[in-house]
Point group: C2
Chain length 296, copies 2
DNA sequence: CTCATTGTTTGTCCTGGACAAAGTGTTGAC
DNA sequence: GTCAACACTTTGTCCAGGACAAACAATGAG
């Protein structure tokens, strides 16, 4: 557990091998030990710093100014965002985060269930789950919770959303929507939130889960006579790759099928793509749906 | 859609860039075109052959004898396995596969639901879902269904299993089991099947979903006072990597916490690891559970 | 301030070499 | 004939160091 080979570091941090080597050459960090074969072995604390760097890059920092900096200076860089962006957290959300942090599975589930019943599915998603996931993401960004806790949270919410959606039964009205994520995007919580917003409106939502290759999406959309294809991107997904993927998918789809794209990766970027409906917020989904139904 | 850069081919086929280049050097295949910057562009039909090669490798063929061979010869190689291994398929399973192939979502769901009610959760999993997933995997291997259809099937089964498990409520008896997959393994159907087998026995199952880093698993297992950690591996996961991961996880866990490992990746390999309970079949889970309860 | 131009940073790709681990085949003992 | 030990071959992954276009920042003109 003390030192990892380069392939493991790539998997754990999401930083490609090539980039790890070029950083070492240019910025003198990381500086892995070498084993008897001369291969790189990254000590745990350097991997930790690499994870931190990844977060900072996602926040918009540039490698030249942070890779070589000492770890303490980097930790400080995370703070401003914390102070600036952190609203006086909703007490309900703070309580839920505590449950996650303390591994109180049973209570977490019960509390979520309670909110769900009180708010109804759509408001539960847009008013609680969405800000809560953002808060969890931030807490992870600041090292306040671990990966396991984040996974635990995601699982519970997924279970809740899936069973709510299931109990609604298959929608019967148009449009028919095919939902999935592109290759490289494994997070499906966003997708489920979309489904939870739309299913109560009688929409026929079919999800393919994560990472469907472009060609297969297009094929399935035609075969299944769908009206709309919806894809979602988490904050962790590189924005450029997202836009490239959306453009390619738009080209692969017949003009008669609409393409909806949303998620944290697209926020803040003002880039627009022709003939693609970009969804900035969950609530916008309902407007987009109304528009579509008017037009068809 | 006509030619893909090397990074896209890696994503689509699962074959690493390094391997693609070394195959080109050694076996004169693939032979990508070069763009004006001198970078490789893989024509669609070569990518198709690469996908086929990937399937054959998973079946146990070796690169030296298949990479250079013409596509037609390779297609023929897939047949024998089909003829030899294919039992006179269970009519129920064949009917379900047809529903998947034809994108009959509503009927698929209804039929599955029907089987579930008839068989009960545990038999539904061990007698229907397990052989069905194997059959789906084979159908994909032989190109009879696409990625989208496979995803569709997985989603439906997941929804069904998750809501059944949810409706059981949290178990109250010991042991407490923490379930997840290791980094690189994104398939969680196996995990859900395990949970579905154990939850009716009153076991407290907590799932972290896919790809939890080793260190976080160990941490969470200690923090949550779990008795057992269970990990699963799909057929697509490379066996060597699985064994290495299991060994590392065993070392990271305190001796008081048991480690259970199972899944298609471990089948056929007779390798045993000390102090790890290897689960060959789903039914063995119940025996393992009985053993654990006797011993504790 | 807005837009176009120039300079810098940065990720990804390239070549060709190396080597250990996994796999295959052979030999010899029982 | 079966099994274990050995040598040989195959194969994936790593390495170094160079190159370049796309993204980004800085500068200057209208």
């Amino acid at each position: 557990m003390s030192a990892l080979p380069i392939a493991a570091v790539e998997r754990d941090t999401g930083i490609p091998k090539d980039t790890l080597r070029v950083w070492e050459r240019r910025y003198a960090f990381p500086q892995p030990v070498r084993d008897d074969k001369g291969e790189r072995l990254y000590p745990a604390e350097q991997v930790e710093k690499l994870r931190l760097l990844r977060r900072l890059l996602d926040q918009g920092h540039r490698p030249g100014s942070i890779v070589a900096a000492p770890t303490e200076a980097l930790a400080a860089l995370l703070e401003p965002a914390g102070e600036r962006g952190r609203e006086p957290a909703d007490p309900g959300i703070a309580a839920l985060i505590d449950l996650v942090r303390l591994h109180r599975s049973a209570e977490l589930r019960a509390t979520l269930q309670q909110h769900l019943v009180k708010l109804g599915l759509q408001r539960f998603v847009s008013e609680l789950v969405a800000p809560l996931s953002r808060a969890i993401g931030e807490a992870w960004l600041h090292g306040e919770i671990g990966v396991a806790e984040e996974h635990l949270f995601t699982e519970h919410v997924q279970n809740l959303l899936r069973s709510s959606i299931s109990s609604l039964g298959t929608g019967s009205r148009s449009p028919r929507i095919l939902m999935t994520t592109l290759p490289g995007e494994e997070h499906i919580l966003g997708l489920l939130m979309v489904e939870a917003m739309l299913a109560p409106e009688g929409v026929q939502c079919i999800s393919l889960g994560a990472q469907t290759p472009l060609a297969d999406i297009a094929q399935a959309a035609r075969d299944g006579q769908f009206d709309i294809v919806a894809v979602s991107f988490s904050a962790a997904f590189p924005a450029r790759q997202a836009f490239r993927g959306i453009e390619q998918l738009r080209d692969a789809l017949p003009a008669s099928i609409a393409l909806w794209a949303g998620g944290a990766a697209l926020h803040g970027k003002r880039k627009r793509i022709d003939k693609v409906q970009q969804i900035a917020q969950l609530d916008d989904l309902l407007d987009a749906l109304t528009d579509w139904r008017k037009a068809n």
